[in-house]
Amino acid sequence: MKIIVQKFGGTSVDRTESRALAARKVIQAREAGFSPVVVVSAIGRAGAPYATDTLVNVLRDIDPQVPPAPREMDMMMACGEIISTVVFAHTLQTLGSKAIALSGGQAGIITDDVFGNARILEIRANYIHELLAEGYIPVVCGFQGTTNTSSDTEHGAITTLGRGGSDTTASALGVALNACAVEIYTDVDGVKTADPDLVPKARTLSLCSYEEVAEIAHQGAKVVHPRAAEIAMDHNIPLWVKSTFSDAAGTRITGGSSSDAESKRLTGITHTGKLVYIRLEIANAEHKPQVEREVYRMMARAGINIFLVTFSPTSLSFCVPRTRYPVARDLLDGMVVPVQNAEADASGKPLTYYIFKFSEGLDLAYSVQRPLLKTVERFADIVDVPATVIESCTMVSVIAAGHRRVSGIMATIFETLTGAGIAIYQTADSEMSVSCLIPESEVDRAVQLLHASFFEQ
C-alpha cells in the first residue's frame, strides 16, 4: 500500500470552491494508486467564524480579566480543526469517496500534557491502517492530540501542538504510517525565493534540502513549519510543498545538498522579527565577563531569549523580542553587579559596583538606586553601565548554504543594502544563512533589493 499524507491549510479549506479543489487533489492521488491520509487545519484565518482565533475569543470575551484555563483553551482551539475535518470528510463523501473524520485522539496521536504546546509522544497508527485497508480516506484533525492515561475514569485530555501544529501532524503521521511522501498544500505553488507579496518576481524552487527549508522557515518564511521539516528529515520522508489552486509541480524537499542547480548555494531571502537592539558599555574589560554573565542570568530567569550577541572589549550588545523589551529594560535598569577588584587596583578599593542605566528619569530604577550606592562609595568604585537602545528593528536574511566556504556573500549584501541607504545595525551568520539587523521600516525594500542582487541578475 502506497500511503501519502496530504495536508491542507486554512486557505485551502475556507470556501466551498477551495475545498472542492482540495478534495480533487485527494481523489487524484487515490486514482493514481495512492492511499491518501488527509490532515486539515481550521477553516480560514483570523476573523473567519470557525478560525482558531475566533473560537479563542469566545472564551476570552467572557471576562477579559480571567484567562481561560490551558486545558479548556486547548479544547476550544481544537474545535476549529474538528469542524474543518468533518466538513472536509463530508465534502469527499459528496464526491463519492469513502471518507471518515478523525480527531487527533481518534487517529492515535498521543502527546504530553503541555497544553498549548504539546509534543507528540507516539502515534498509534493501527486504526488508520485498518481504515485504509477497508478503503476509507481518513481525514485527521491537524494541530491536536490527546494525553495518554492509564486511569479507568479519565480518558485523556485534548491537547494542541502549538504554532505550525498541522504541518507537524502531517509529518509525524507520515513517519508513523511509513508514507511514501507528505504533501503540504497551501496558497503558493511551492517554496519561493522570497515572500511573493513583497517580490512578485520570486521564483519557485523545484528542489530544496530539509536543512534549507528548515532555515527558511526559522528565518521567517511561512510556507512550512520548521518542526515538520525536521521530523521529515529525521526519518527521511520526502516532503512536498504544493498549491491547492494550481497543478504546478511544487517544491520537493529531500535529503542531501540540493537547491536548484542554477543557484546552487542560494535558497532565498527572508525576514523575521520585531526586535529591540540593546548595547551596554562596560568600562572595565577585565570585569566584563562577570558583568555579562549576570546579564545573561537575569534574562534567563525572566525567560527572555537573547540573540545577535556581540562583544567588543568594552561593550555587550544583543537583541530581545520587542514584546519582551519592557521586561528586559525594567530588570536591567538599576541592576547592580558587584565585582571584586584585582589586588593592585589603583583606587585601593576592594570592590567595583556596576549599575545599569537605561536613561535618566524619575520613574526609572537607576535614578532611585544610584543615590543609595553613595553609602558604599568609601569602599567601592561605582561605575555606570549606560545602555543604548535601538527600537523597531528586524532581521533580513540571505539563506546561503555553505556560505562560510565561499567568499563574497557578505560583500554583496553590504553593498546592496548600504548602497540603497539602508543601515545595517548588526549581522549574524551561521552555516546556512547571513542575517542583518536593519530598521523595520526598510524591510520591504531590503528584501526586494537583496532578491534583485542575488536572484535576478
Binding site: R293, F311, H403, R405
Partner: protein
C-alpha cells in the same frame, strides 16, 4: 538534544574602519578585498569604529596582505577555536547563553566573539582552552562524548 562542534585553526581580525563619513565605504572595502582574494569570512560583527570577523587560519597571511594593501589597519589573533553548541529551536530556549558563559568561565576560556542562529551558539575562544571548554560544556549540557565533533574550517573560494 545538544551537540558540540569544535573547529580549530580559526583566526579573528579586528579591522579599524573609523567613525567618520568614510566608515561605510571602508566597511564595504573590507568585505570586497577579502572576497577578491577568496577569503570566506564568518562571525562578522560591526562595532562603532571597527569590524570584527573570523576566517580560516590558513587564510591569515592572504587576508592581512589584502587588508594592508587596501590601507586598513587590522589586528589578527590566530590559534583560536570555534566551539559551536547546537540544539533545535535554540531561539525558543532561554538560559542557553548563561550556561555557556558559566561553562567557559569555569574553563578559563576568554570569549572573543559569539554568533548565534536558530540552532546554534558559536563561541570563539583560545584554541589551547578548547579541550577544557569542551569538557565544561559537556558537563553543563550533559553531553556524551559521541556528541562532540571536531571539524576544520575549509574554504572553496569563488565569488
Amino acid at each position: 538534544m545538544y551537540a558540540l562542534e569544535v573547529m580549530r585553526d580559526v583566526a579573528h581580525a579586528v579591522i579599524e574602519v573609523g567613525t567618520d563619513d568614510g566608515r561605510t565605504a571602508r566597511m564595504l572595502g573590507v568585505f570586497t578585498v577579502l572576497a577578491n582574494v577568496d577569503v570566506p569570512v564568518f562571525l562578522i560583527k560591526m562595532h562603532s569604529g571597527a569590524i570584527t570577523l573570523a576566517f580560516s587560519g590558513k587564510d591569515r597571511e592572504k587576508a592581512l596582505d589584502a587588508l594592508s594593501e587596501y590601507g586598513l589597519t587590522s589586528k589578527v589573533r590566530g590559534e583560536l577555536a570555534l566551539v559551536v553548541v547546537r540544539a533545535a529551536t535554540m531561539r525558543d530556549l532561554h538560559g542557553v547563553m548563561v550556561n555557556i558563559a558559566d561553562a567557559l568561565f569555569a574553563a578559563g576560556a576568554l570569549l572573543y566573539e559569539t554568533g548565534d542562529s536558530h540552532n546554534s551558539v558559536q563561541c570563539l575562544i583560545e584554541a589551547d582552552r578548547s579541550s577544557e571548554a569542551e569538557a565544561q560544556l559537556c558537563k553543563v549540557f550533559q553531553l556524551p562524548p559521541e556528541s562532540v565533533h571536531h571539524l576544520m574550517v575549509s574554504s572553496e573560494g569563488g565569488r
